[in-house]
Symmetry: C2
Subunit: 459 residues, 2 copies
């Protein structure tokens, strides 16, 4: 039951927001709030006090100030495609970036400046129209927004080549908790003038500021491609070969690993023909890209030079490349057909990745006997998706065992999804007390009243 | 005249440091202090209370704690090759990183972990021995240390391809002002677990922590090279062509611009033959690198595709490439022979670089008539070195006019050298009040007593 004071504070806040943004863009209609109170996985649910849709940076400032004055938490929300509950409100105002979609034309040197609410697909299309490409891509491209991708340092399939979002951001505009606007979007590629505030905001999950605009670097389009599927004797050989290829092939775009257990599941589920006459314990899928020249020859030469002599398929034709990718890409649906998996998104140091892959099934089996473990991921950047089928949704014994193994080997409990609310209880174990204390000090310094996305990161 | 309290504090501090580090590594000998009290340009001078040389991270912790307890400032110093006075002590203890030189062998996947005192040349050599290369290079490689390079986010000639130091750092160990050690050096390429403290420390110029170790990514060696020297009608054409080449040539390593005034000076000073039969207003020097294949053909094809039809020289042979580079590299000595230049290191947004190059001479001439202006720089990343010959050392009218023009066009007053003490008075004008307030809040949060490198950045 809300106290009289809270009711008064809330009604004053709403009146202030309506005065600043207009009635149309401030709503408390329960039906409209419902859509922002739950994430798309339906796992995280909360309660919104209001939904506001500012159309300009000034209106974001007005929103932040109104919430700060009322001491009411504010949760920024983009495409609501996050996986860790970081955009779900808990008695908070939700600031939707849906109207912050202004796009400035790409510059001749390959940079584009977009509003936080611009979708990834829209940025990719703007890049393409200007003769460039964007370095980040993933499946939720039609919903995920640049603001959310900046806030979570989103990754995807091309991190090996281009890095994650932090490496694409040339400049940011953001509103801090005190309503001040930091802005550096003139597109400087070299800029040593004090602390990298933009880099700090990337990955801060909405806890330090509301991103309103981003200036992004574009990358050269690479229309000529070659894909190879390679059969290997063990995970260690796959890790070593991926490293050798990275050293020998500047054109390398992706290096993906999966195991025979996953391949058999995919063959069965998707009714695909096996790639080779005999099965191997581990497979590596690599892709190279060039602007003009077919990269097949250099990929074949690099495999020779690296001493690889196992079964291999190498394709340059688009349809044939797509067929090879199916063995990797259809893992998710094949695993989902087995049951509701526990999905863990972890990174290992590359020099301990093989050790992790060798030990994880034993660790899972000891914690939750009978669990089926399916492993695949971006071996080029140490990111493994651990899928556990068998335990009930509530039974986290196997999950905990995997994360403990990750930490023992110096890995990270979150490769690309972030901490949000879901993993806040693991953050201290992962980062250690000095890191956490420094993070908390920065949070207090920039948001002393804890207005921005409370509960995220620090629990 | 030191007060009795200060003398007591200082003698207690020295006794504490000697107990922790041993007498040999704590000195107050004026002759040895003299070498750390002045920077290598001899422009910045200060006074050191003591020079300490910790050999381990624990000894750095002891040093930081002792200074914090005594409220005596601490200035970290690496190779002392900085250009903005950021490593010069003012009544402070100097912490030399000279003994922090432990190197762990490069991993199979191309990462190397080194102590802060390791020189750039040593890292390059370790990379080479392991079959890799390091992505940052510049002239002071035999003295500059990784700790200083991290603290200043050092750049150099290959930023266009690999980024500056921030992009090479996979993990850092650093001691914060409270003596706590943040450490994440297991080499994670994907890691979304809270704030990017390592990225924040890069470029913080010793004001937030003392870097003790860094884990660095290595890059594939590119032994096959091609260099082209291109004559252009104006700066705008050079900027546009460089952007086109970046879009068409993933192998592009460098894109350097200079003007006919600079070329004539170089030809005269170094007694070189002119590259072409006729002079052009602007020249562009580009270099491409590949692992296996000679990049000459793809460079020539990209020039054609970009519609370039001016005078050009294209060389793949090492000696011939070196001869082309001379026209660019001998600018510094040719300008120095003209007089003591004022050197400004600025970055412009690439889409305003041509406007800057077109206006800067007029602005200089209005502020200090008769000044000779020589422009060259890394056009690929917007970094221009503005050299002014004529005004006396004390006369900063032309410098100020250039920096005002830079700010008017949305540029940065420091591309790669940093702020230090030299440019602290310009920082607020460059970054704006909200940025500066956020930086100060972060500084206060992590170093409330202002122990680490006071005076740097904030004046």
């Amino acid at each position: 039951m809300a106290s009289a004071r809270i009711v008064i504070v809330k009604s004053r806040l709403l009146a202030g927001l309506r005065a600043a943004l207009g009635d149309r863009h401030v709503t408390t209609d329960p039906e409209r709030l419902a859509s922002v109170e739950v994430d798309w996985t339906r796992r995280f649910r909360g309660r919104a006090l209001a939904l506001v849709r500012p159309g300009t940076t000034d209106e974001v400032v007005a929103t932040v100030r109104a919430c700060a004055d009322a001491r009411i938490p504010l949760v920024p929300q983009g495409g609501n495609t996050g996986l860790v509950g970081g955009g779900v409100p808990h008695e908070a105002v939700v600031l939707s970036t849906a109207r912050l979609t202004a796009v400035e034309p790409a510059t001749v040197d390959g940079q584009v400046t977009v509003g936080a609410g611009t979708t990834l697909a829209s940025v990719q299309e703007h890049a393409r129209m200007a003769g460039w490409a964007f370095g980040v891509d993933f499946a939720a491209r039609d919903s995920a927004t640049i603001g959310g991708m900046v806030a979570t340092n989103a990754g995807g399939v091309n991190v090996l080549r281009y890095g994650a979002m932090r490496q694409q951001v040339v400049g940011l505009e953001a509103v801090l908790a005190d309503g001040s606007v930091i802005s550096r979007t003139s597109g400087l590629l070299k800029d040593n003038t004090g602390y990298d505030l933009a880099g700090l905001l990337v990955g801060s999950e909405g806890t330090l500021g509301v991103v309103t605009r981003a200036r992004l670097r574009l990358v050269p389009p690479l229309p000529r491609r070659a894909v190879a599927l390679l059969a290997l004797t063990d995970a260690s050989a796959a890790v070593t070969l991926a490293a050798e290829l990275r050293r020998r092939l500047p054109s390398l775009l992706a290096a993906e690993l999966f195991t025979d257990a996953g391949l058999r599941l995919v063959l069965d589920h998707a009714r695909l023909a096996p790639p080779f006459a005999t099965h191997a314990p581990v497979y590596l899928l690599v892709e190279c890209g060039e602007t003009e020249q077919d990269p097949s020859d250099s990929l074949a030469a690099a495999l020779d030079a690296a001493g690889f002599d196992g079964d291999a398929l190498l394709e340059a034709d688009a349809d044939a490349r797509e067929r090879l990718w199916q063995y990797r890409e259809r893992h998710t649906e094949a695993i989902n057909a087995e049951g509701v998996p526990h999905k863990l998104d972890v990174t290992l140091p590359l020099d301990r990745l093989a050790a992790f892959l060798g030990r994880v099934e034993g660790v899972v089996d000891a914690a939750a006997p009978g669990t089926r473990t399916y492993l695949f991921g971006h071996v080029g950047d140490g990111n493994v998706h651990v899928n556990l089928v068998g335990p009930s949704s509530e039974d986290e014994a196997a999950d905990d065992a995997v994360l403990r193994l990750v930490l023992e080997l110096g890995g990270s409990i979150s490769a690309e999804h972030g901490i949000g609310r879901a993993k806040a209880r693991w953050l201290a174990a992962d980062r250690g007390r000095p890191d956490l204390a420094a993070m908390r000090a920065i949070k207090r310094a920039l948001d002393p009243d804890g207005i921005l996305n409370p509960g995220v990161l620090f629990g």
